[in-house]
Symmetry: C2
Subunit: 410 residues, 2 copies
């Protein structure tokens, strides 16, 4: 017997048949004696329609009204799922954010959860009632509905699991777990049975879009055990179902490298012959930050002849704003020239075991050298080594690394 | 300067263009210095879709969940209209039933309004903010959403007007007012500038479906001045716009007859040779009531030879249940036979002036006799005379009466 939170995304509740399917899945958990709370998204397509209406009426619409409109999507699903559960003889009721209440700050449209009063839900779950919670929404101090931003239902589910002291938070998606890399590139990629929060964050932010980043951060901070699994696969849940995202202490045999991630969303910028004076880097990145440009990798070579070359990557969409910011600096900083290259890819090897093993980087560099792939920029963190390469080599590099670290399925 | 409540039904807010139209109408009232609250229905078609989903998932669905689902229709419209108003530079915010709060009893799906806390709304309306209120819904004592039943937005608007002590409640519909009779039958029917609550009730319940009956009763009890007007006609409001529904004391020149109504929804039943003993009528109508059969007109002739004939009308849909109820009585009451006639129509002349005038009924009977229309049943109330005739004469009777009472437009 356990207390679990189950979360179903928009494609899992896209129509009445799928909602009935979800109800049967919930029924199974209840039949096993579990206490269950379910978090639901809007039926797929609904949120987009509601957002479009708001935007068409006024591009600069009031975020508080946007929230009142958009939150209805989840409200509908929660009521319908409660009805479907009752039809199966499962006691259930729907909960809107304001009814729980799930309190957030007042940042309408992208609110952050502050507090969930879980007492009443726990009391009812103990009595056998399934709590069907509308995801993605909460209540601000001004008594108005807030939404958490796109993908916010994952965050709702994890926060609820923390508040309810749930044993597990099962996130049902359209994939059956987290893989060692993108199976479209490496057909022999393996599904991971367990993965550490930190690894999940790195894999999510560099390409494997399974869980919303904020929900993983929250799970890590609140020590919520999250299982990612498919809502279309219909077998009983066991140890090997989906991927369990947990604290690394729970992972006994830590793999040196657990996955290979890649991203083609970044562009490389090099500012050449920058005067090598204190405060120059601060000026450059201050100007970029003022233009809301997100900077990822940053490399500065050792200075020669009083100038240095500064290389960094920015989101491809931020490139025009980065250009403007740097052009504006020209009079302040007398740099040589600015070079752009949007045809790059970032490839990363990720693994919590990396901390205790040497040689991860050299294996990576050899594997790429064997394929004659030139490394443009290198950056490392405790659980990740990333390289920037020409975009055309992305698949080749991912496959070579997947093999080099022994990740290919047998 | 006045405080007004404006109510827009589903067809008036059916798409974004119509919502923008509504916003411009509200803007005009605000520009005239009025304090405005707007009550909105769901965009047309939305409520039906939501109801269908609930019913398909479970024909015996939980009314509390039904309410949570169905109330979203009005929530969406309220947010969208607030956005459209702000886009025109009009200060506005949406209010859900639970935010006001508009308190109801717990009869989910057909709740009755108990209390509206209007203080905060009045404060904001005084400060120039338009209150956009989601119609048709409220909050029960268990902190769950209730809905008021179909057509409930009219009732929301009238109740809100009472709570806000509004000078007027303008109900925008797809007709431009209340007519002396159905213009499809009598093209020369006249729009009434004013009508008394009681007349409106009689006209509404016998065929002129403009306002929901409950909303008229509420308006009468709370003395709310209601104006029925078209949301598609785009001229400034004056004395002659639409129809004002008011207390009869406000109507200086009371017309003897203000309108002719008709209904083809009833069927006639005659029970022949019923023993004329005390308690027999109670047995018959008790049995019908147990089967939930609504009975309208009742006529009992003077007794001859110890038996009497009892004639009454029931809703056509109730006919099978009425038959069952009466067949079950056969052993208890030894009546002669039961005759049914579904091909009847009820035609009524309505007017508060009738109380103080004689001759209304005789004018009616002469006019019908002139056209050789046989009267089957007669029933009267203080402000109404109704007759039951063969259905085929409906239009002929309505036209003859419209002319006989001098209602034809010149």
């Amino acid at each position: 017997m356990a207390r679990i939170v189950m979360k179903f995304g928009g494609t899992s509740v896209a129509d009445l048949d799928r909602i009935r399917n979800v109800a049967r899945r919930v029924q199974r958990e209840v039949a096993h004696g579990n206490q269950v709370a379910v978090v639901v998204s809007a039926m797929s397509g609904v949120t987009n329609q509601l957002v479009r209406w708001c935007t068409e009426l006024s591009p600069m619409h009031d975020a508080r009204e946007y929230d009142a409109v958009v939150a209805t999507g989840e409200q509908v699903t929660s009521g319908l799922l409660a009805i479907a559960l009752q039809d199966l003889g499962v006691e259930a009721r729907s909960w809107q954010g304001w009814q729980i209440p799930l309190r957030t700050d007042t940042a309408h449209g992208k609110a952050r959860i502050q507090n969930i009063e879980g007492g009443e839900l726990i009391r009812r779950m103990r009595a056998g009632q399934v709590a069907v919670v509308a995801g993605f929404q909460g209540l601000a101090v001004d008594n108005r509905i807030t939404t958490l931003g796109r993908g916010g239902s994952d965050t709702s589910a994890v926060a609820l699991a923390a508040a309810l002291k749930a044993d597990r938070c099962d996130i049902y998606t359209d994939v059956d777990g987290v893989y060692t890399t993108d199976p479209r590139i490496v057909p022999r990629a393996k599904k991971l049975a367990k993965i550490a929060y930190e690894e999940m964050l790195e894999l999510a932010s560099v390409g494997t879009k399974v869980l919303q980043t904020r929900s993983v951060e929250l799970a890590m901070n609140e020590s919520v055990r999250v299982r990612v699994l498919s809502s279309f696969q219909d077998t009983p849940i066991d140890e090997n179902t989906g991927t369990l995202v947990v604290d690394e202490d729970e992972i006994v045999e830590k793999e040196t490298v657990s996955g290979i991630a890649y991203s083609r969303d970044e562009a490389k910028i090099t500012v050449r012959r920058v005067p090598d004076r204190p405060g120059i880097a601060a000026s450059i990145f201050g100007a970029l930050s003022e233009q809301n440009v997100n900077v990822d990798m940053i490399v500065q070579n050792i200075s020669a002849d009083g100038t240095t070359d500064m290389t960094f990557t920015v989101g491809k969409a931020d490139l025009p704003r980065a250009r403007t910011a740097l052009a504006g600096l020209r009079t302040l900083i007398n740099y040589g020239e600015m070079l752009e290259d949007p045809d790059v890819a970032k490839v990363s090897v990720v693994g919590v075991g990396m901390r205790s093993h040497a040689g991860v980087a050299s294996t990576m560099f050899s594997a790429l050298a064997d394929k004659a792939i030139n490394i443009q920029v290198i950056s490392t963190s405790e659980i990740k080594v990333s390289v920037l390469i020409a975009a055309e080599y992305t698949e080749l590099a991912v496959r070579a690394l997947h093999t080099a670290y022994g990740l290919d399925a047998v």
